[in-house]
Symmetry: C2
Subunit: 160 residues, 2 copies
């Protein structure tokens, strides 16, 4: 297992890719990458900067943007346009490239999901149109059933 195998963490794959491309593993890139993949939450460039600075004072906005661009180019991160003013980044993309997103219209939470039947059908439809699918981006805006029926959203309990 030398090069970027799927068994490696996205973080490790990022460092590996930097090494392979002859890019220097600076303390800034290390911090930003660790923070980006430090949890499974989607994040904005600005929040990544804030959290990176908290861990390593020597991180600037410019370097955050430059490192984000690298991670996206490397296929380890994806931008998801969830309709906000600024885009969010999805740290789970490398491990689960085919997952989609529910965006709850009620509580604005983002829930990830994956369905094999959808994958298959998407592939068939794409082929039928003379294409071969490379990357799929599926986002479903939806309302919360529990909230409508019981008045409470299980993902967003009252008193929060």
């Amino acid at each position: 297992m030398t090069s970027s195998s799927p068994a490696m963490t996205p973080q490790a794959r990022a460092f590996e890719t930097m090494r392979t491309q002859g890019l220097r593993l600076t303390s800034q890139r290390k911090t930003i990458t660790e923070v980006a993949f430090g949890n499974r939450e989607h994040f904005s460039a600005e929040s990544l900067l804030a959290r990176s600075c908290r861990r390593n004072a020597k991180v600037s906005r410019a370097t955050v943007y430059r490192t984000l661009a690298f991670l996206v180019r490397a296929g380890l991160l994806r931008q998801v346009g969830i309709g906000q003013s600024s885009p969010l980044y999805d740290p789970n993309f490398a491990d689960h490239p085919r997952h989609g997103h529910f965006v709850c219209v009620d509580c604005h939470k983002i829930v990830e999901f994956h369905d094999h039947c959808l994958d298959v059908r998407e592939s068939i439809v794409t082929k039928d149109h003379g294409f071969s699918p490379k990357r799929v981006n599926l986002q479903i805006e939806a309302t919360c059933d529990a909230l409508r029926e019981k008045g409470v959203c299980p993902r967003n309990p009252p008193g929060t």
Copy 2:
């Protein structure tokens, strides 16, 4: 057929909605709406401004943005984040709310498609997660089979 029936054109529905909401039908709103729904191509705010100005000199950037926001709010237009710097707007959304987009990685063309099986499966998966789907956004980045096999993309013939 009084209020916004599906049989009306999106343009007519836009004017109808303005009237219903007590908004004034100014020459600027008229021009911008007509240009937006004037063909089936996706467009950016900037290109909408340019084309609107060509038809009616008295159209400003601010009014274009304000009118775009209205048309999106009214459900007649949708923003599609096709990865560009600025978002594109989809004039076919009102007539075909469930269609998805192929984005050709080779020629960068956008091709619309619709598949009923996908609709059904999306709905089931959404329900399984405790949601009710309201709006679906599916974007598939793909390569052109004909280009790979024959060296020519039928949507983008050589000499273009």
